[in-house]
């Protein structure tokens, strides 16, 4: 057992699988000598050498496109996009190829590869360094999209992603990188892809989120409990594509009320998908409108304005009270 932060947990997952499988190869900007701008790959160049931990030029389409070719030849690349805001340079490779080789070739070729991307606000960064656009990947057939929320599930989820026979967009909530530590077991764990997790049980209202928002929801649930005597259930989606409808519907069947929270823009976001699934499969249970507390449909502000902009537990608590009184 060791107590680690999320950066260390991710580093651990990479180290473990790189030791087990010589085909695991990392590519990214500044991931070698520099250990990654967030230090997730620290020490890996030293242990595994330059053929397996590859510092690349600044060329995101190059990184993803080349890694696709490597996958097809038999390697298992894990790419780092320095920030999710610079993955759009590679979007044509992601949409056009990463997600498609299996379907296109009727299974002859597959792309078992992971694309790690730090996302989200809260680190006082300049433009393009705080956005969340997970919905774009979740909307792209053929991709699996996951978001960890703690050091322990970061490790188990990255391991599962690296073992998956199909591509995974691994969206890392950078605000949590060093936010807290958690005990992780000595032996690696695997979090099954596609599964949500109830992180707090309750039957009065269902609070749904992922990544850095899980802590916001937990805080809101505490407040609701302490101040209002309300028992909120908190669901950590973890997997955005596929999405675990069952866990959502089961919870709302109990609670009759749901709030979904994310940092990314609202229109066609993950919250829209959650609300739509509930409107489709849990309508009869719903006793109040499904509320979305999300990033607004405006640009993520420069950091002086980010605290005002980001969803927080106060907003969740307020919305919960409204729904409970509905």
């Amino acid at each position: 057992m060791a107590s680690v932060n999320m950066v260390k947990a991710l580093n651990l997952a990479l180290t473990e699988l790189m030791r087990e499988d010589e085909n695991v190869t990392l590519l990214g900007e500044d991931i070698g000598l520099d250990g990654g701008v967030f230090r997730v790959t620290e020490g890996l160049l030293e242990e595994f050498g330059g053929d397996r931990v590859i510092d690349t030029p600044v060329a995101e389409a190059g990184i993803i496109g080349a890694a696709i070719g490597m996958s097809i030849y038999g390697l298992r690349p894990v790419c780092e996009m320095q920030f999710s805001g610079f993955a759009y340079q590679a979007f044509h490779q992601i949409e056009g190829h990463l997600s498609r080789y299996r379907a296109r070739s009727r299974g002859r070729f597959s792309v078992p590869m992971v694309v790690r991307m730090p996302y989200g606000g809260g680190i006082r960064a300049i433009e393009h360094h705080s956005e969340s656009r997970e919905a774009i990947y979740a909307h792209t057939p053929g991709l699996q999209v996951v978001v960890p929320s703690t050091p322990r599930n970061a490790r188990s989820l990255l391991r599962a992603s690296m073992l998956s026979p199909d591509p995974v967009i691994f969206y890392e909530p950078k605000a949590l990188y060093r936010a807290f530590r958690e005990e992780v077991p000595d032996e690696p764990e695997v979090h099954p892809l596609g599964k949500a997790q109830v992180v707090r049980e309750g039957s009065d209202i269902t609070l749904i989120g992922y990544g850095a928002m899980v802590r916001v929801l937990q805080e809101a649930a505490e407040d609701l409990h302490d101040q209002d005597g309300v028992n909120a259930e908190v669901i950590d989606l973890i997997s955005l594509a596929p999405m675990d409808t069952e866990t959502l519907v089961n919870s709302v069947a109990k609670s009759g009320r749901a709030i979904v929270v994310h940092e990314g823009p609202r229109r066609c976001g993950i919250g829209a998908e959650v609300a739509a699934r509930l409107a489709e499969s849990a309508l009869d249970h719903l006793e109040a409108p499904v509320r979305r507390i999300t990033g607004f449909d405006v640009q993520f502000p420069y950091f002086a304005r980010e605290r005002a902009y980001m969803p927080n537990s106060d907003r969740v608590v307020h919305a919960a009270r409204e729904l409970l009184e509905y």
Binding site: A66, M70, Y73, Y101, D166
Partner: protein, 364 residues
């Protein structure tokens, strides 16, 4: 503190061996035995004949839109002939001649342009990527394959194809740059057929040649007569040998011409003169190669007729299989999306099955 000219020591060559009259420069001609020469010719002719038939099939509504290869047989066959089976290719979408040379069944061509994913189901053992429609995107997959070869210490190489038009894309640049930096066993074949749909070569880039683009990435460029299969083969073989020995990438510009339309949906008279086409027809790669092989005594009327008949049969058999294909299951969309179908997709599949049953689009 001077003002001086920088010498970048470019290694930029032009190569031509077999001219329009079927004459070769013996000092440069590759030493190939008769069988190999005939194989080369057979692939070129098969490409020509299947191409003609595909256009025909399209006109009859038996396949969809089709993108012809006519005129580019030397560039496609000549490059592919320089490879071993353990080498790989990463093609664009106009490389039928390459695929036939690499042993693909003609069926795949029919399926692809007939609208079936089956056309991209490259057979096990064939180390070729399927057709990549987004221009120049495949160059990066070639990079990855060549890179993996190098990491795995293989002496295999990869060829990646791109059109003249494709050299304008960012992906081409990133691929060239990676190939240079990591000294990959990768050969870029630019089929400069003078057009990106209607956009002529001279309006695509201001550089005098496409070959010289290699200088921006610190490796060698070669411009060959792309209608001269011997020059194409020879330049590719040299580049392949260099790459196998760790000598890194080469860019080969095959100067050729798209004698036909961009696709069967295209009307080239809108943007080019018939005169120009006629000029290029005189440089037809098949005619000059046949002349050479006849002069050399490797081929004669009888043997050519034999080859023609073989090809005709091969095409006919492939068309029969294509037109009698019974594997068209719409559920394949769900079969090949992910290795394991997750719950929410299983539910969608159920919905799809129900809809198809309702609509009589599914028998079972």
């Amino acid at each position: 503190m001077p003002k001086k000219t920088i010498d970048i020591q470019p290694n930029l060559t032009h190569l031509a061996i077999l001219n329009e009259h079927g004459e070769v420069d013996e000092s440069l001609a590759p030493k190939l035995d008769g069988d190999t020469l005939v194989t080369m010719f057979r692939h070129m002719l098969a490409t020509r004949r299947l191409d003609e038939r595909m256009i025909n099939m399209q006109r009859q509504g038996r396949i969809g839109t089709y993108g012809p290869s006519r005129g580019q047989e030397a560039s496609q066959v000549g490059t592919a002939m320089a490879l071993r089976p353990d080498d790989w290719t990463a093609q664009a979408f106009r490389e039928m001649g390459m695929t036939l040379t690499r042993g693909w069944l003609m069926d795949l061509t029919l399926y692809f342009w007939g609208g079936y994913e089956e056309g991209n189901a490259v057979a096990e053992g064939h180390n070729d990527l399927p057709i990549a429609v987004p221009v120049a995107s495949q160059n990066l997959h070639g990079v990855g394959i060549a890179w993996a070869m190098k990491i795995k210490k293989k002496d295999s190489v990869c060829i990646t194809y791109v059109g003249d038009g494709g050299t304008s894309e960012g992906d081409f640049h990133e691929a060239m740059n990676f190939a240079g930096v990591y000294e990959l066993p990768l050969i870029f074949i630019v089929q400069n057929n003078q057009f990106a749909i209607s956009h002529p070569r001279r309006k695509q880039t201001k550089s005098r040649t496409l070959a010289q683009k290699a200088l921006a990435y610190g490796f060698d460029g070669v411009q060959v007569d792309g209608n001269d299969v011997l020059a194409v083969y020879s330049a590719t073989r040299d580049a392949v040998e260099k790459a196998r020995k760790g000598g890194g990438p080469t860019l080969i510009e095959c100067v050729t011409y798209r004698l036909s339309m961009h696709t069967t949906a295209d009307d080239p008279t809108r943007y080019r003169e018939d005169e120009e086409v006629k000029e290029w027809e005189k440089r037809d790669p098949l005619i000059r190669f046949a002349k050479y092989l006849r002069n050399k005594g490797v081929l004669d009327d009888a043997s050519i007729e034999g080859i023609e008949n073989d090809i005709k049969e091969e095409i006919a058999a492939a068309i029969t299989r294509y037109e009698n294909y019974e594997g068209l299951d719409p559920l394949d969309s769900f079969k090949y999306i992910l290795a394991d179908l997750p719950a929410d997709l299983r539910a969608q599949q159920e919905e799809f099955i129900t809809a198809l049953r309702n609509e009589g689009q599914m028998s079972h």
